[in-house]
């Protein structure tokens, strides 16, 4: 179990903010931190991994204390050894894919894991390439594989898929789930994409101005998700227009815009920019080979 109880003064774009955070994460869970930018999500990850020092508080992981301001305990990032996948991937430009992974080995560690991870991430053919020659999705896979080399118990993913196109994102989501299960990780994700969150995580914490304002099982968190409807996607409202006695709501789902007819009562609750779930019974859509 990971328990965090942290206070930290942060300077954000909107001025000063005091992060005051209490959260517990069960071992083996896939947890998402959700919230608008500047809410303190990345700072939380950085404090957990030792890259940012809290002003006061406590971090306990299992039986070990990683940080305790009262007892002056503050383990270095080197001692915490979390697998951290950065938003910009942070691949070492001077090293090939294989060298990036090998660098992460700790002293005396069996090299066999490198081959295993390269294979698992489907990077075998790219292992001699330098990071600058890789596509976004490939870089992401290298960053993830590299974070797993030292067999961490905690994997931290800071908006890992936000820069990728939809197709690659969906593929990598599958891959993240596999990794999480295969290596029995406790995974902490920062993400804005509701579809992604629902698909991946067990539990969601919503942060707002440095505090947890809502938490819950991912399926319950966004309300409507637990319907029997099988044909469902999350997206963002682009346009709401009145037509006759109904409204037509345009929703951006991935790279596609779909239109959904909505009753005036529902439309009144929506505004442009809202994250929404679009669902229908699996019986209704038609399917045709292209």
């Amino acid at each position: 179990m990971i328990s965090l109880n942290l206070k930290k003064k942060l300077k954000s774009a909107g001025g000063q903010m005091v992060l005051d955070l209490k959260l517990t994460i069960e071992k083996g869970q896939f947890v998402t931190l959700f919230g608008e930018s500047g809410a303190g999500k990345t700072s939380t990850l950085r404090m957990l991994s030792g890259l940012l020092k809290p002003d006061s508080g406590l971090i306990e992981v299992g039986e070990t204390t990683w940080f305790n301001s009262d007892e002056n305990i503050d383990l270095k990032p080197q001692q915490r050894k979390v697998g951290y996948v950065f938003q910009d991937y942070a691949l070492f430009p001077n090293m090939s894919v294989r060298q990036n992974l090998e660098y992460a080995l700790h002293k005396g560690q069996d090299k066999a894991i490198i081959g295993e991870l390269l294979q698992f991430a489907e990077l075998n053919e790219l292992e001699q390439r330098k990071p600058e020659t890789l596509s976004g999705g490939q870089k992401q896979r290298v960053a993830l594989a590299r974070a797993l080399v030292q067999r961490p118990e905690i994997l931290i993913l800071d908006e890992p898929l936000s820069a990728l196109d939809l197709k690659m994102r969906i593929k990598l989501q599958e891959y993240l789930l596999q990794v999480h299960r295969k290596y029995k990780l406790t995974t902490i994700l920062v993400s804005h994409d509701i579809g992604e969150i629902v698909k991946l995580s067990d539990k969601v914490f919503e942060l707002h101005k440095g505090r947890v304002i809502k938490k819950g099982a991912a399926a319950d968190f966004f309300g409507l998700n637990k319907t029997s409807a099988k044909f469902r996607f999350s997206g963002e409202v682009l346009k709401i227009q009145k037509e006759d006695v109904i409204y037509i709501v345009s929703v951006l789902i991935g790279n596609d815009i779909v239109r959904v007819v909505s009753d005036p009562i529902e439309a009144a609750q929506l505004k442009v920019g809202d994250q929404v779930l679009v669902a229908s019974k699996a019986f209704n859509p038609i399917i045709q080979k292209l």
């Binding site: 030792g50 990032p77 001692q79 979390v82 910009d88 001077n94 660098y103 030292q150």
Partner: protein, 223 residues
């Protein structure tokens, strides 16, 4: 023509650059990562030689290292080191005088790297030293090269500090720039021109090489 001043110049530049390279990396690394309030002070000190007339620096070093003064006397008596009018003194003065030319490019290079590179290495359990040597420095090779070449060229070209602290002793402190001055004083323009031409072309070639390498020309040819 007397080659000794030229040989001495390049020996001085080489030794100075080597020492600067070793001491500038920790200084630049500290400057690029610290949040300490001392940082602006140290940055100012490092940059002082850029604006200070070399004679000021040379004058104070001359005073400090003079065996008649406490510090210079102590050095002379206890360590047997005589820094004025000696090659050792020239090296020390050149190191201080060229410090910003080595520290600043390295510091700028380190600051331009995304902080996540360093952080990624730390979360992998790697020490600061290992991170510096294996990740940070290899990724700022152009900056290192710039620092090395600028320091070297600047040391080759220095005059005021050398004259103040080293004087004009053939074979020991008479470097090329001073030899040129000497020859001009003696109205020996041909010799002055010889030294000048050699310095001109050597520095031109060195700088040209830097621009070619850092400009990526070599990389493009290699591919």
């Amino acid at each position: 023509m007397d080659w000794q001043p030229l040989a001495l110049t390049f020996k001085l530049a080489l030794v100075t650059t080597a020492i600067l390279f070793v001491i500038s990396i920790p200084i630049a690394s500290w400057l690029s990562s610290t949040k300490s309030k001392l940082r602006p002070v140290l940055e100012t000190l490092v940059s002082m030689p850029l604006v200070l007339p070399p004679t000021v620096l040379g004058f104070y070093m001359l005073v400090a290292f003079s065996p008649e003064n406490a510090f210079g006397g102590w050095l002379n008596e206890w360590l047997g080191i005589k820094l004025i009018f000696s090659f050792g003194g020239l090296v020390l003065a050149s190191v201080i005088y060229s410090l910003p030319f080595m520290v600043q490019p390295i510091q700028a290079g380190l600051s331009s790297l995304p902080p996540t590179l360093k952080e990624a290495s730390y979360t992998m359990g790697k020490s600061k030293m290992k991170t510096l040597l294996k990740i940070l420095l290899p990724n700022i090779r152009p900056s290192l090269l710039t620092g090395i070449v600028l320091s070297f060229a600047h040391t080759v070209g220095e005059f005021g500090v050398v004259l103040m602290i080293g004087g004009n002793m053939p074979g020991r402190t008479k470097v090329a720039s001073i030899a040129i001055y000497d020859e001009v004083e003696a109205l020996n323009y041909t010799a002055a021109n010889n030294y000048s031409l050699i310095l001109f072309f050597i520095t031109f070639i060195i700088l040209l090489l830097v621009y070619l390498i850092n400009g990526g020309y070599f990389k493009r040819f290699a591919q």
